[in-house]
Symmetry: C2
Subunit: 336 residues, 2 copies
DNA sequence: CCTGGTTTCTACAACGTTGTAAGCAACGTT
DNA sequence: AACGTTGCTTACAACGTTGTAGAAACCAGG
């Protein structure tokens, strides 16, 4: 059975508001009154009705995190960090899976703002600035690529620089025929475009010509796509001496395909990924990758959101860049 | 700017309740009235205030899924299925990370029921029946091991049978010195106990003696723990010809440790896991494992919960068993 | 004992929604 | 013309909470 302030008040012989004051830690309550109320609360196992509180206060204490897919390790790890960072602000996180499709993302963007939620951290794939317009001033922070000059705050990693660095790392190992896996031409492929740009920039800098045949598309960025793309490259007679995969799951798939083709990593082909997911530290071989500071991304996002909620909602949008580093492991440098 | 029923009503020249009726699809509204209201709704971009609706209706349309850790692939995959299954009932899923500790789980169990949530799907590690008492009749479904005869519905897999089957599979390959990784003595280790029981049952059945030295504990069930346990076994001079790891991440860690010790899988040591996570289909070698039907687990859980919500809340608790199968892959049978 | 200030408590209204009950038309039937 | 029926609409109250404003109790200083 559920009890209300009123029940507690009757039992303690005080007014409803006094109970409310005790619950909310209001200062001026006589110690004996407070004790009586607390006793009644305990006896009835009273817990406040958050719907009512939210209605009254206009705040819910819940923020949403919308990601394309929860069982992509990168997003799962990110989610963990966001939950932790949000907890520090006393927030509960409602995690929403968009599926990554334009339609579903639009629905999340427009539909979630039904007063259930104070703010939104959104990791979009397909969203455009227009879609954001529907949000009606819902405080929001976007992760990843900027949605072309939309009105929202952003937390990004420098994809171009990171991709360039890791490609340069491969070049530095003496590799010259460097394949890239994960290119995408759809509008959802913003990350793909930036990482491809970094890849070509590194080739340019080293005076290596861009060879279209070395660039393999991947419809999604799952292990299966990485394996398929790698098999496809090999079947087409392309013999790269290195592969830069646009994320780690693609890379793990590529590792698998290379293994099946009896090619050694890194001796025959060096492999690098992007994201630094847990799997890559235990794969065989362990995976060289770009390690974005996920903890920082999460913290920055939550802090940006907190700024919006507490402060000026109409301040100009800010963009923060989270740091990244190169994690070199066996898939490029071999076993020590 | 946010609008209310009242604003829409004024704009459309009708009463608040009529707008409410339109929003809720009430039948008896004249077509032209409905059109006027809908126009006003569109113009103002009205969206209902869920806090108010929830307060009025006593239902929130949100259920919680509480799991120990989101970035354990098994739980992430499960979460995806639960979200999908819940969507079919029109529910939003609030995902909660308990961290798996007794303290935190108890907090979730007692604290989440603050009227924010209609029901709870809980995958506990450390929870006891006492902890559940605090829930005050919050409809709940537990996943995994039964919390000793608590009052809640359960969805389980037959851990003992599954562990026995996969151990028998290893025995069937001619292996005799079969190690087990993942045993736990803490109260949280209910799964560990059951899987260990299945393991010993299979040994018994085959007339193989139980050797304590072959059983390695693992404080948690992460890759790092699996690798550490495997290294520990090898360092202790134990030379198993097979390893049954109590989940897949342990197994992936064990694969890694075996690789570092230059042991071949499955030639020298066959390796089997439990959970059938995505990683195991692409690891090198691919991982033989017990594949619980996660989609079914999620669906059953959601349906049990739906039954509680719509039906008799005081019906006796039910326990449903989700099917599992054996997925034999390279880590035991080698490359084809 | 009064004054003014502080502490402690309370009554009331409001947050935005929907269920209830009732009102008002318009209709067909007697 | 009176009636019941049906379709459409509305006023009101209530869900459980908290902010506001003010009342009551208390205290210290004259």
């Amino acid at each position: 059975m559920r009890h209300r302030l009123k029940d507690v008040a009757e039992r303690a012989g005080v007014s409803v508001k006094t109970v409310s004051n005790v619950v909310n830690g209001y200062l001026h309550v006589r110690p004996d009154t407070r004790a009586r109320v607390e006793e009644a609360i305990a006896e009835l196992n009273y817990r406040p009705n958050l719907s009512a509180r939210n209605l009254r206060k206009g705040r819910t204490g819940v923020i949403a995190l919308a990601v394309p897919e929860l069982d992509i390790p990168y997003f799962a790890e990110l989610a963990r960090h966001v939950v932790t960072a949000a907890a520090a602000h006393g927030w509960t996180v409602l995690i929403d899976q968009t599926g990554g499709g334009p339609e579903q993302e639009r629905k999340v963007a427009s539909g979630i703002g039904d007063h259930m939620i104070d703010g939104l951290i959104f990791s979009p794939l397909a969203l455009t600035a227009d879609d954001l317009a529907g949000l009606d001033g819902m405080p929001m922070v976007l992760l990843g690529e900027r949605v072309d000059h939309g009105p929202a705050d952003h937390v990004v990693v420098d994809n171009v620089a990171a991709a360039q660095e890791i490609t340069a790392h491969l070049i530095g190992l003496g590799r010259r025929r460097i394949a890239a896996i994960g290119s995408q031409r759809t509008p959802e492929g913003a990350s793909a475009r930036l990482r491809l740009a970094g890849y070509t920039a590194a080739l340019d800098e080293a005076g290596i010509g861009y060879d279209e045949k070395l660039v393999a598309p991947a419809p999604a960025w799952h292990r299966a796509d990485g394996a398929a793309a790698m098999r496809h490259l090999l079947a087409a007679g392309v013999r790269p001496d290195a592969v830069f995969c646009f994320n780690d799951t693609l890379a793990l798939g590529a590792l698998r395909a290379l293994h099946e083709a009896d090619l050694r990593v890194p001796e025959d082909v060096a492999v690098a990924g992007f994201d630094d997911i847990e799997d890559g530290r235990f794969s065989i071989p362990t995976l060289t990758t770009v390690a974005p500071d996920k903890e920082r991304i999460a913290r920055l996002a939550v802090e940006l959101l907190a700024g919006r909620l507490d402060g000026d909602r109409d301040a100009p949008p800010r963009e923060l860049t989270a740091p990244h580093r190169l994690a070199t492991r066996e898939s490029t440098t071999g076993r020590p």
